[in-house]
Subunit: 427 residues, 2 copies
Amino acid sequence: MAAAAAEQQQQGFRPLDEASLVAYIKATPALAARLGGRLDALTIKEVGDGNLNFVYIVLSDAGSLVIKQALPYIRCVGDSWPMTRERAYFEASALQKHRGLCPDHVPEVYHFDRAMSLIGMRYIEPPHIILRKGLIAGVEYPLLAEHMADYMAKTLFFTSLLYNSTTDHKKGVAQYCDNVEMCRLTEQVVFSDPYMLAKYNRCTSPFLDNDAAAVREDAELKLEIAELKSMFIERAQALLHGDLHTGSIMVTPDSTQVIDPEFAFYGPMGYDIGAFLGNLILAYFSQDGHADQANDRKAYKKWILKTIEDSWNLFHKKFVELWNKHKDGNGEAYLPPIYNSSELLRLAQKKYMTSLFHDSLGFGSAKMIRRIVGIAHVEDFESIEDASKRASCERRALNCAKAILKGRRQFESIGQVTVHVQSFDRD
Amino acid sequence: MAAAAAEQQQQGFRPLDEASLVAYIKATPALAARLGGRLDALTIKEVGDGNLNFVYIVLSDAGSLVIKQALPYIRCVGDSWPMTRERAYFEASALQKHRGLCPDHVPEVYHFDRAMSLIGMRYIEPPHIILRKGLIAGVEYPLLAEHMADYMAKTLFFTSLLYNSTTDHKKGVAQYCDNVEMCRLTEQVVFSDPYMLAKYNRCTSPFLDNDAAAVREDAELKLEIAELKSMFIERAQALLHGDLHTGSIMVTPDSTQVIDPEFAFYGPMGYDIGAFLGNLILAYFSQDGHADQANDRKAYKKWILKTIEDSWNLFHKKFVELWNKHKDGNGEAYLPPIYNSSELLRLAQKKYMTSLFHDSLGFGSAKMIRRIVGIAHVEDFESIEDASKRASCERRALNCAKAILKGRRQFESIGQVTVHVQSFDRD
């Protein structure tokens, strides 16, 4: 609190409201231009339903943009949980870097003001909605797997040692080391709190009280989570989004846009892939809670499973294609004079991708568990009003995640994983 | 070359010779004081028989010190291989950090001049000699294992996440990311060149030509080395010495001093441990080449094996003791409310140490292989004049290393490793 207050008073920072936001836009040509200079009748809507920041949609009759401002605390908890405003710098940096690598699926940044922790960026217009809401509504997105595979393959491959020299890689690592407060938040809420008695933990009580206690008493699970936590902190494999759940993705049937990379850092690739796949599995287990007489959601559940399979398989394909395409480039991890036959390179790729697959399953499971017994739950389950029914859906997801986390090295294909997921579909 | 010349011309840098060195000392109170102010009859000896730097021993009748200066290229190759002088900064930083953690085995830095890439430090006086020379001479060091276990346990534990907060850890990681040129040198000479045709590779020809070719054609070996190379670059587990072979250690029967950490960076702990153990195994295999009628070296080989075993076992013991002692400290990797029983903590430690053991065996083997078929060989073998005999010793070491590298995950104790080492003792 003292720290937060002190930081807020730093020169150049002031939290904006709608009135001061207009003045700010008028004084900032890069933003004013995006609104066609028509600044006298702006429509402004605060939509920061996220957990962390203030987000304004700004519309003129000639353009649109979004203004996102980070305040020196976590919005959903309040100023009792201070959090560096510098997360806005890392978010803007990651958006710009990832957009350079994958412009189809990352929105443009128009303006960044580090002192104000303020990003001006593309307004991702309707009918785009947050993917999580689409999944709750039972909407199929036929291009989602293809788009996310493209996004993950490009952002991860092109920021890894498979593409970059060690020199460039370590420059990036050093830069993002400073986003450590966000990494520590993840460490706490994903890798620590769910496995202990912690102030902000909650679950669908009383139904899941015993399940939550069982997580806290599961020695095997705790040994596995320690390994993943160490990997999360120590292993600088690629520039991650850092929070790639279905609430960080906006979609229409034709378009997929990834937003909110304020947790960006150099970490293990499997953390991003796992976040996406794990949240799809959560969506899967929530469907029974959304079924009604008009729609039993059975076909939709099949679509989710297919999307999980396609996402991994297409990611795998695209990633290896990028590797093959750039194998004679600057990347120093697999030098052509060493991996000098197509057969040897294929074996190396198989080993790499298998390890990445198991990492992804581990991190994905960890992300599922924390959404059921940790601080931040998902709307997929929260929107199931009947607590008993919600708990039943959550329990299946929790048991599935625990089993994947412990047994992840036994899976040889994503098809085996979706079969495994379905085996938890009955109580 | 152009880069090296440009760097050398940087303001404030000039390479010293004996005359200008005296003037420098006279102008530097921190150095003059160490010589008791008796600066008119200094004895100066250049002893930089290392590969990289100029090293002067400076003696007065009232004191002593060593001056080490990095030039903007690798000394042993010449100015055709430019190398940043900033390595001196990382060497001085690591010496100071590690000395703070383990003062018994790290010499004191008296003075550091970043512009001049110059370190003034303790003269590690006779009868200290380089450990490698002692091993060649067949000298037993009864405290070596104890001392090195102490050094490795303290420097690695206290710079890891077991002791530090993520915030402090990432600060260190970011700082040492800039020592990337030295990391790249290691990547090249340890993890790449030995597995391909490379300009500076050499071996005891013609005897080992086929053995070197076999390394370059060994698919299984190349898959393993790729994994280790990635781990070396990506995994910031602790602040390593980075070059902990037996030439970086000065000894008497009572004293062990670790020098030359200019390759220091945050990397996998097993790289340091492996460097030390691997070089002891090289020393072991070289003994038959040094045997003569007066000394068949059989007892000495037993002592080396015992030192290998004691080094790991004592390291293991001391490291776990530090972990237990500081388990309620700032380290966030294993929070007490999660690892809340002594049994669970013991299991976590067992898993951690087993993984570290296998990493150490992998890196140790890689270090052995590169000393036989790569650019930089070891005096242990080089001093065996009969090339045929030398090749025979080297071949055993090479075959042993290849087998350990491939099968490292099967070893459950260091005793199994020394049994394995002995099995290569016959052609």
